[in-house]
């Protein structure tokens, strides 16, 4: 399969010299209606709905933790005010203590009769299971003897507990305002960056600041960082879906065409009928599932919902990502900061409507399972978790463990098979990562690796054999040619101030995260040892540079697969290190240390106040500023080339008009494939993109456009027709990627318009469509 061209990376505009004229004569304005074209920005309703939904997602303030007892406050030592970084566990301890206290204070009848206070919280935080051998679970703290000791939560405490909602809601309000006041009808070479309302940037800054203060405050529950991360994903990945009336990105349109092909043909076809496009029928998993979904939703095609796919696929990644990070640390700040960094550094743009978007989530899911369930407990640096039963280490039957492992392997295999039938590159990345893990003593379990290799080979040697046997010579030639594999090639060189600036923003963002990760690895010695598998996750994709260029995209794919590991150590570099005192780790002093960590109830109430800004020290502000810069840099990296990726409704309508009238076996000639519906009905209409051709032939076309193109198109036999299509998407892509500039393409258009060999079929502000007249 020809991999998608690098989404938001490859492109570069010329300085705005002679824009493509969107207001050209519209004598043959194509019909505006198209089932793939969503209604233009009448989106007030949908935006309102989105806003409302987002608001509902914001958790309400939790106050039950502010219900301490006087008894407790008397018995507990005073708050340890120097503890700047209290931790999530402290909260859990408090929660456990409180639960046991309340239970002890009430008779069973009272407990059963009384409505459960803070029910929502109990759902979120189920009762802490008691560790084996422990007594009441609350340890040193005596139970409350009188329920009247339970002091009501004070109003200021509630307000303070809910303060993280303020920056979150403010950011979302700013985002909604920005979306409603952003005009994308005339994008320049800076893409969406140049069009966004300033309120968007303000919202992003407020959200980042809110996240930073929330995540560093251990008295806040994990729901607040989660809410902020979801807010970030909405602002990052849903903005384009709301702003643009049509789906972005030519490759997403291509995948819509593949789904359409499966729905039309009802089965898989080979290269004899589909040519190069048959590769999609050899990895059909994602497309077949989408074909079923289209029918089940009762919509015309995937274009009806694929604009929202980036948001869906990004949220899907959160589950395995969180699980992986929780395998190596209990530090909530580290976990959520790593998740945040991953979200903002994942600008590569493989979250669009594509097989790799789902395969990446499954890939991370497999790794999460392997890291959690296939480790060797007891090897230094690992620990079996409490709360699970029947462990090998606690004397359970070995057969039961083997049976459990067999079940895990079955489930793992299902995920691997789904990856293998959906995408070509992801199984390769999975294999090298599992191999790297298996080579370490801590994860020396060969079962996941062998399972994955067997499934991968089984698919490659059967269903995918036609493609692989044809592509194998090229693949073998590219092995070891690192220089060629890394270079981006002709037509992918950012050209023009805007494109170059956007590309540098992306490079700086990725480079900064990788440098931060390196700093984290060097600086956090113990963490480096404990989270060594994550270091392997970050390093394992690198050898893929040697294997293939993957259509000049390998560098971006490798970066994406490195990110889960790199983001973790980058977050570690951003966070301060607090060394525990000897008293906290020595045995006899442990109780004291825990007591120190558990402040008194009134102290908790007092301390649950609005966050204090970092002290006026350069170092204290550096980390949040780096996080803010990274968050802001995501926008140009991800959507700085939307001039290429956005196709206005009139462009869609123009191309749709072509396919409405094209007879079977017709030929469409265009500058490049960057236009909507480029692969529409590819099983019956052929294409020729002349900028993909040899440079000498391109030069010939530039010298005599109408003559050379007419000659190239003359081989089409009636009743098939040969069409010439030139749209603004093609012009933007060619110009911003260092191919023909706007002036050269305008000459091509004028030459065709003036030639008697061509007849104009349709024209509007987004492009023009000609047909070659039959030879007389």
């Amino acid at each position: 399969m020809r991999p998608p061209a690098t989404p938001r990376e490859r492109s570069a505009p010329e300085p705005a010299s002679g824009k493509y004229d969107p207001d050209a004569p519209q004598a043959d304005e194509a019909p505006a209606h198209d089932s793939r074209t969503r209604e233009a920005p009448t989106a007030h309703t949908s935006r309102d709905v989105t806003t409302e939904r987002t608001s509902r997602d914001v958790p309400t303030a939790h106050t039950s933790r502010d219900v301490p007892t006087e008894r407790t406050s008397r018995d507990e030592p005073a708050a340890h005010t120097s503890q700047d970084e209290p931790t999530e566990r402290t909260l859990r301890e408090e929660s456990t203590t409180r639960t046991s206290q309340e239970s002890a204070a009430e008779s069973p009848e009272e407990v059963s009769a009384r409505p459960e206070p803070g029910g929502a919280e109990r759902v979120d935080r189920p009762a802490t299971p008691e560790p084996p051998g422990s007594g009441s679970g609350s340890g040193a703290e005596p139970p409350v003897s009188d329920p009247s000791d339970l002091a009501p939560a004070t109003r200021p405490a509630r307000a303070a507990a809910a303060w993280p909602a303020v920056p979150l809601l403010t950011a979302l309000a700013l985002w909604v305002y920005a979306v409603r006041h952003t005009d994308v009808s005339a994008l320049d070479d800076y893409g969406l960056v140049g069009a966004l309302h300033p309120a968007f940037w303000a919202g992003l800054a407020v959200l980042t600041a809110g996240f930073w203060f929330t995540v560093r405050d251990p008295r806040r529950r994990s729901r607040w960082p989660l809410a902020h991360v979801l807010g970030l994903l909405v602002m990052e990945r849903a903005t384009q879906a709301l702003l643009y009336p049509t789906p972005l990105y030519a490759w997403a349109w291509k995948h819509d065409a593949v789904v359409d092909h499966l729905l039309t043909s009802g089965g898989l076809q080979g290269a004899d009928r589909l040519g190069d496009m048959a590769v999609y029928d050899q990895w059909p998993g994602f497309f077949a599932a989408q074909a079923a979904l289209v029918r089940l939703l009762g919509v015309d095609n995937t274009a009806m919902y694929m604009a929202w796919w980036p948001l869906v696929s990004s949220v899907l990644l959160l589950l395995p990502l969180l699980l992986i990070y929780r395998t190596f640390t209990t530090d909530r700040r580290l976990i959520w900061t790593a998740v945040w960094l991953f979200c903002v550094a994942n600008w590569v743009g493989q979250d669009y409507f594509s097989p790799q978007s789902v395969a990446f989530a499954l890939h991370l899911g497999v790794l999460a399972i392997v890291l959690r369930r296939y480790g060797r407990t007891g090897v230094p640096g690992t620990a079996g978790t409490a709360g699970t039963s029947g462990t090998a280490g606690d004397g359970a039957d070995g057969r039961g463990v083997r049976q459990g492992q067999a079940v895990w392997t079955v489930l793992l295999s299902m995920l691997v098979v789904a990856v293998v039938v959906s995408h070509q590159l992801t199984p390769g990345m999975l294999v090298v990562t599992l191999l790297a893990l298996a080579l370490t003593r801590r994860h020396r379990d060969w079962i996941p690796l062998i399972t994955t290799v067997v499934i991968f080979l089984a698919w490659c040697l059967t269903a995918a054999l036609p493609f692989l046997s044809a592509a194998m010579p090229d693949m073998i030639r590219s092995v070891g040619d690192v220089g060629a594999n890394v270079e981006t090639g002709y037509g992918t060189t950012p050209t023009g101030t805007g494109a170059v600036a956007m590309s540098w923003a992306a490079r700086l963002l990725s480079g900064s995260v990788l440098l931060l990760a390196l700093a984290g690895v060097l600086r956090r010695r113990v963490l480096r040892h404990r989270a060594f598998p994550l270091l392997l996750l970050a390093a394992a994709p690198l050898p893929m540079f040697v294997a293939s260029s993957y259509g000049s995209e390998m560098i971006f794919r490798v970066l994406m697969f490195m990110l889960p590991g790199a983001a973790f150590f980058a977050a570690a570099a951003l966070l301060p290190t607090v060394r525990a005192s000897a008293a906290e780790v020595s045995g006899p002093a442990n109780a004291t240390a825990r007591a120190i960590k558990r402040p008194s109830a009134p102290a908790r109430r007092r301390r649950l106040s609005l966050p204090a800004p970092p002290p006026l020290r350069y170092g204290a502000w550096l980390a949040p500023l780096v996080l803010l810069a990274g968050t802001l840099a995501f926008v140009p990296s991800y959507s700085g080339k939307d001039r290429i990726n956005y196709f206005p409704p009139r462009e869609v309508a123009l191309v749709q008009r072509l396919f409405d009238q094209a007879p079977d076996d017709s030929l469409v000639v265009a500058a490049n494939r960057n236009y909507p519906l480029a692969y529409e009905q590819y099983w019956r209409v052929d294409h020729y993109w002349f900028l993909d051709d040899d440079r000498r032939h391109v030069d010939e076309i530039v010298r005599d456009p109408a003559g050379v193109l007419a000659r190239d198109m003359a081989a089409v036999d009636p009743p098939a027709r040969a069409y010439f299509l030139l749209t603004q998407g093609q012009v933007a892509n060619s110009e911003m990627n260092g191919q023909l500039n706007e002036a050269q393409l305008r000459r091509v258009r004028e030459s065709v318009a003036g030639s008697p060999r061509f007849e104009r079929v349709a024209e509007n502000g987004a492009g023009v469509l000609y047909v070659l007249k039959p030879a007389s």
């Binding site: 566990r89 189920p126 979904l293 690992t382 079940v407 290190t577």
Partner: protein, 162 residues
């Protein structure tokens, strides 16, 4: 079996039948889309995880080692460890439910398209029937240790909701 267990057990097949019923709504209807998407995203995987849950707990999960010299994470409190591990286990079950659902849908659709028999109704009906069947299957349990008294409760995953 408690009412809560019964509800959790029957929720996935109920979601499947609800999704099937929603096909009577007009195409593009948000209700239809929500019912179908919710079931396809979680239903089959949740049913599978319920069956496999106890057996999955037979193999211990790796967890973070408390750093006593450098990290900012908390001390060495066992209850805190258990709570953290419990939450991680819940997250793992949720992840499995979602990713297995996605995988099963992909695999089924692939098999059907290869057999030239793909249709939305077939995918949904098959998944609903499988999910219903799974709801009536007993959970896989890890084999008890040799010496365990007959009738003794097998090791179960404490606090599991699936």
């Amino acid at each position: 079996m408690t009412p809560q267990d019964l509800m959790i057990r029957m929720l996935p097949p109920f979601g499947g039948w609800l999704a099937l019923a929603s096909l009577a709504l007009p195409g593009g209807s948000p209700l239809r889309g929500a019912a179908v998407a919710a079931f396809l995203a979680v239903g089959p995987g949740a049913a599978l995880v319920r069956i496999c849950g106890p057996a999955l707990g037979a193999r211990s999960a790796e967890g973070p080692v408390e750093d006593t010299s450098e990290d900012t994470s908390e001390g060495t409190d066992e209850a805190g460890d258990a709570a953290f591990a419990h939450h991680s286990d819940l997250l793992e079950r949720l992840m499995l439910a979602v990713l297995l659902s996605v995988s099963v849908a992909i695999l089924l659709a692939t098999v059907l398209i290869a057999a030239h028999a793909l249709s939305g109704d077939r995918v949904l009906l098959t998944l609903t029937l499988l999910t219903t069947l799974a709801a009536f299957c007993p959970a896989l349990r890890a084999r008890p240790a040799p010496g365990t008294a007959p009738g003794a409760a097998p090791p179960t995953w404490k606090g599991s909701t699936l």
